[in-house]
Each structure stands twice: as C-alpha cells, then as structure tokens.
C-alpha cells in the first residue's frame, strides 16, 4: 500500500471511495503541469496581465522609524485582482480546469475572498460556478456575497455544523462526490486531501519567489524574519517556500481571537489546545475535543476562523522550521489602525495578524536587520467588519440612515 502526500506524519488523503478516482486524475494532471514549463509561463503571463503580478514590495519607512528596530518591508498581495493572494491559486486552478476539460467549478469560502476570486476566474474562463459559504460568514461578509452573485456565481449558504469555513468545505466535498465528472473543486487553501496542500502551495510559491528577489534588490540582503498570517496556510506557505533553505526565520501568526485561555480562537499551532486528528480528508492538528469532535473556533477575521491547518505547516511546526504566534482580535484592530495612520496601508483583518507579531518583534531587532510582512489581502473591502471592529459611530449612523432610506 502506497501512502502519498505526507509531510512527516501529517497529510494523506482520507477519502470516501467515490472520490478516489477524481483525486487520482487530479494527481496525474498536477504532475503533468508541474513537469510542463509552458504551464508556469502561461500562469505568470495571466497573472501579469489579468492581476497585478509581480506585486510590489513596499518599504514601510514610517513604521520602521516608529518602532526604531528592523527595517519593515511589506509584500503587497492586496494589490492582486480581487484584493488578495487568493487570485494566485484560483487562476492557476482555472488553467488546470481548462486542461482537464471540465465546465464547472465549486469552492468553499470563509471571508469571501476565495469565493470572489473563484467567481471572477469562472466568469473569465466561462465555467459555471457554485460557492459554498457558512451561514455565519454570509451574514458577516454580505458585500462579498453580493459580488459573487453579480459575477454570475451561485452562493449557497451552508447551515450545517458551526456554519463556517469547515462546514462550507464539507458541503463542497458533498457536491463534488456527486458531480465530479464535469466539476472541479477549487479548494482555497493548502489544506485538505493530497494533492491540494502541495498544489496550492506550489501555485502560491510565486509570492516568495518575487519577494526574495525584491528584498535582495531593495535591501541588499535576506530578511532576518518573515511574517504571514495562517488560516489554512496558503499565503504563509506561498511566502515561506522561497526562503525555506535560507537563514531566515519563518513566523506564522494565527487567530488568537479573544485570547488563548478563552478557547475562543483558531490557534492550532500557537496554542497547546489542538491535537492530531483526521477530518476533511487529511491528518493535521485540529481544535477538537477528546472524542474527536471539532470545536467551535472564533476570529474577527473570517479567513482565519478554521479548525484545521495545512499539514505542511503542522510538520514545519513540529520540526521547528516555522515559529507560530497568535494575535488577538484587539491587537489586530490596533495594528490595522497603526498601518493606516503611518503608511496609508489597509491590510485585511486576516493579514493584520501578521502585522501584530512583526510590530511586537521589530523594536527589539537591530537596525541592520530587515523583515517582510505578507499583506495577503486588502481591508478596505471588508468595510463593514472593519468599521464594526473599530467601532466608528459615524459609520453606524450612516448605516442607520441608509436603512431608513430603504424603508422609506
């Protein structure tokens, strides 16, 4: 018996029999495109003409002076089309779907970024598109639902379980088990059954490849540390990949929610509350109870509010290659405010988790050192969530008046 897709003891493909032939096909197709240089060329070309690649690396001069330690550089994945690194994975999988000759794509989404990105890709390539989104997330991310529907996607509100990202993933798997002949599941992160963790990390590796080249050009040296937020793990693995063999410290930042002792968080690797388990088709650290039932998670950032984590990151956590920290909801809002005031940058709430940890560490580093923070997405499109998180009374007033207009 051949086990594939393992990173240490993590990963694998714990699949119902009905999906096994589909995954066999996907593994073969992925191996084929990986061996074919024209695929990567087509991917880079598409990303440079449809999205905004290469994305800039911004020197955050004011923040650097503010903290008085390491020079802070920010990788601007927020400048991708649809405002997040999600576009990288989605376009690459779209090209893969074209090669496989399928006509329909489905996806899960938490914050809605991956859903919107998938909907744009489906529109561009002429695929039918269904997006599964937890009912809780549909409520807190209505603007993204609006855009997905305008882009022609069908958005299905998932009312099972905790009604968040993991439940949307389960629903997408159920759809796929029925419709695999014509449908590809565009999984949005470096989690799930093999080959998704490897494949999504491969597509996202474009982030680190660019960032490494850019920092060598601008700073003339490698960064001492690099920071990325971790939900499923795709933006972190995308940035880390190119620095894996360098003397660079890799730091992943998870959702600390209302604090680790509160248990209202999504810190799988930064807390000691997660244990190894098997769910959603793969083995990794999950926040679960002693029976193996998944726990509820919490984060101000829907995109980090997930019960499992990439098996690749679980392995890199165990080996010590990646260090993990958690940022609380409150710290995240403070870091977001500071970034806006000092640099005019508006990171997504997800990305702001990475900023928190970088801001904690930068002052104690010496001025010769530099760091990179991955701004994986932009926050301005999360205006409803951000305005609530910041607690802006004038915004609230505006919404009330708007509601009255509709009632009139």
């Amino acid at each position: 018996m051949v086990k594939t897709g393992y990173y240490g003891e993590f990963g694998g493909a714990f699949l119902p029999e009905i999906l096994i032939p589909t995954f066999t096909q996907l593994k073969e197709e992925f191996a084929r495109i990986k061996a074919d240089p024209t695929f990567w060329e087509e991917y880079v070309h598409t990303m440079s003409t449809y999205s905004c690649r290469p994305t800039p690396l911004t020197f955050a001069e004011n923040l650097t002076h503010h903290f008085g330690g390491a020079s802070i550089y920010i990788k601007r994945e927020d400048l991708n089309h649809t405002g997040a690194h999600k576009a990288n994975n989605v376009i690459a999988q779209g090209l893969l779907v074209k090669r496989m000759g399928k006509g329909r794509v489905i996806a899960e989404t938490g914050a809605g970024q991956h859903g919107v990105a998938t909907a744009t890709m489906a529109a561009k390539y002429g695929f039918d598109c269904t997006i599964y989104m937890g009912e809780v997330d549909v409520k807190r991310q209505r603007p993204n639902v609006f855009w997905m529907e305008q882009l022609g996607a069908e958005v299905i509100s998932v009312k099972d379980g905790s009604k968040t990202l993991k439940d949307a993933m389960n629903a997408a798997f159920r759809d796929w088990a029925q419709n695999m002949d014509d449908t590809h599941y565009v999984l949005g992160t470096a989690s799930g059954p093999h080959p998704f963790p490897e494949m999504v990390s491969y597509f996202q590796s474009i982030i680190g490849q660019e960032a490494r080249e850019q920092i060598l050009k601008y700073a003339g040296k490698l960064p001492a540390r690099i920071y990325a937020c971790v939900g499923g793990g795709s933006n972190a693995l995308g940035l880390f990949g190119a620095f894996m063999d360098d003397p660079v410290e890799l730091v992943g930042v998870e959702a600390g929610g209302k604090g680790l002792p509160s248990k209202l968080h999504a810190a799988r690797l930064a807390s000691d509350q997660a244990t190894i388990g098997v769910a959603q088709g793969y083995k990794t650290y999950f926040l679960q109870d002693d029976d193996g039932q998944m726990r509820e998670t919490h984060s101000v950032a829907a995109g980090l509010d997930y019960v499992g984590v990439s098996p690749i990151l679980s392995h890199l956590s165990d080996t010590g290659r990646v260090r993990f920290a958690a940022a609380t909801d409150k710290e995240v809002v403070d870091a977001l405010r500071l970034s806006m005031k000092k640099e005019g940058l508006i990171p997504a709430l997800e990305s702001a988790h990475a900023f928190v940890q970088a801001f904690k560490e930068a002052p104690d580093m010496n001025g010769e050192e530099c760091i990179i923070i991955n701004q994986s997405g932009r926050g301005d499109k999360d205006i409803f969530t951000v305005a609530d998180a910041i607690g802006d009374p004038q915004w609230e007033q505006f919404i009330r008046e708007k509601a009255e207009d509709y009632n009139a």
């Binding site: 119902p16 009905i18 032939p21 388990g277 098997v278």
Partner: protein, 253 residues
C-alpha cells in the same frame, strides 16, 4: 463469521435487509427502542452510526441527526454503552459506522477491542481507504471484525479487485454518486455496475444509497444479497415516530 451468517440467512430469504440508526438520536433510549423495533420487523443486519462532527459522506438527513445527537452531548462512551445494551438483547449482527477520527482519537486498536467487547461484528468507515488505514485493517483482523469495504459506480475494475483483498463479511456497493439520502435510479446502468461488483469479489454484496421502498428492493432481488435502508427509515422516524418505522420495514420485502 459475518459472511457465514449472511450465506445461511440467504438460504432462507431471497434478500436481506440492513438498516441504520444514529446512536443518540434523538436520544439513547429512542436508539435502543428503534433497534428493537427494527429487529422485530425482521431486519437481518444493522449499522450503528457513532456521530462525528464532520460526516463528509453523509447527506442532509443523517448529517442533521448526527449534529442533533452531538448537540445533546452524545459522547463516544455513551454510544458504546448503548451498543452493549442493544447487542445484549438483540440477536442479529451489528456493525459500527463512523469516521476515522473517532477511531483515531480513541486509539484504533483500543477502539476495535472495545467494539468487539460490545458485540460488534464489523465496521464501515467511509474515510478510511486501505492506503491510509493499515492500522485499522490490522486491528480489525486481530479482533476478527469485518472491515467493510465500499465500491462506487466510478471505481475501476482494478481497484475493485484491490479493495476485495481487504474486504470481509460483505462488500458495500454505493448505488450512485453523491452522498446518502438522495434518489437513486434503479436502471440498466445499475445492473451493469452490479455485474462489475459481482466479478470483482466472491463476498456477498450489499447495496445502499437511495434504497427506500418495496419496488427498489424487488428490483434488487437476485442481484445482490443485502439491501441497505438508511436515510429512508430515518425520514419515517422523523415524520411518524418509532412504531411507523416497524411498519415501514415490514412493507419493504
């Protein structure tokens, strides 16, 4: 042995019935009463599902029952207690159905041991393909429990033969694509698929997913050994209560 039981029963009946209950749904007393009602109505085998929070192979009806059971606090230990009561008083083979994480967190070998002690005869674990579940297969063999393997319509012949190497008791043929609890077309395609299943293994065949009435079961007579009724019975339970389930089961053959 489970296989022998099935063969002996088949000499008396032209098709066997396997039903399914979710342990702890709507509560454990009801589960036990439901099992008794089903056995009294003539059921030959039964799956006892231990609820898991992420049941990716199950459709809405079973999914909701699992969630409701978990919400009332149904634990694995409670499920084992209820199983002991069920197997002690009812004389048909019972199988566990659950997902791999339930076994994994309990420790696979410890789980199969306690399952055997509870009087269980086999298990259906849909997210444990042989490639990933060597520990499970070994532990099942050690306890002489049948690790039920599943076929689906898109399983290639070669893989059917591969799975047959690990199968014991019977092979569970999933009637169609998708998850549990949706309609299945009982047609020529199904005949061809069942013929492929028959070619791949000498074990008895069960067919499940979408089997719900007398007509479906008539279609299956002579083609398979066991008809599996899962979501269909659960729907009756939800709509009409336990007693109606007994009438429903009796109407099937």
């Amino acid at each position: 042995m489970l296989e022998n039981y099935i063969r002996e029963k088949r000499e008396q009946k032209d098709i066997l019935l396997m039903t399914h209950i979710v342990l702890g749904y709507p509560d454990f007393d009801s589960s036990i009463q439901l099992a008794r009602t089903m056995v009294e109505a003539g059921v030959d085998l039964m799956e006892l599902q231990i609820p898991f929070s992420e049941p990716i192979a199950d459709g809405p009806v079973i999914l909701k029952a699992c969630q409701d059971a978990l919400q009332t606090g149904a634990s694995v230990a409670d499920c084992l207690d209820a199983t002991r009561k069920i197997t002690a008083s009812l004389d048909i083979p019972f199988l566990f159905m659950s997902y791999y994480n339930i076994l994994f967190k309990y420790q696979v070998e410890r789980f199969t041991k306690v399952a055997a002690e509870c009087g269980i005869r086999g298990m259906i674990v849909p997210d444990a393909p042989p490639e990933e579940a060597e520990d499970y297969l070994q532990a099942m063999n050690k306890e002489q429990l049948a690790p039920i393997q599943l076929y689906s319509p898109n399983t290639p012949d070669e893989r059917m033969r591969y799975l047959a190497d690990f199968a014991q008791g019977f092979v569970y043929c999933v009637a169609r694509k998708g998850v549990t609890g949706q309609d299945t077309a009982f047609s020529d395609d199904l005949d061809q698929y069942l013929a492929r299943c028959r070619q791949a293994t000498r074990l008895p065949l069960a067919l499940g997913f979408g089997v719900k009435d007398h007509k479906d079961i008539d279609f299956l007579k002579g083609k398979i050994d066991i008809a599996v009724v899962g979501s269909g019975a659960l729907r009756i339970l939800n709509e009409k209560g336990v007693e109606a389930v007994g009438d429903y089961i009796r109407s099937l053959r």
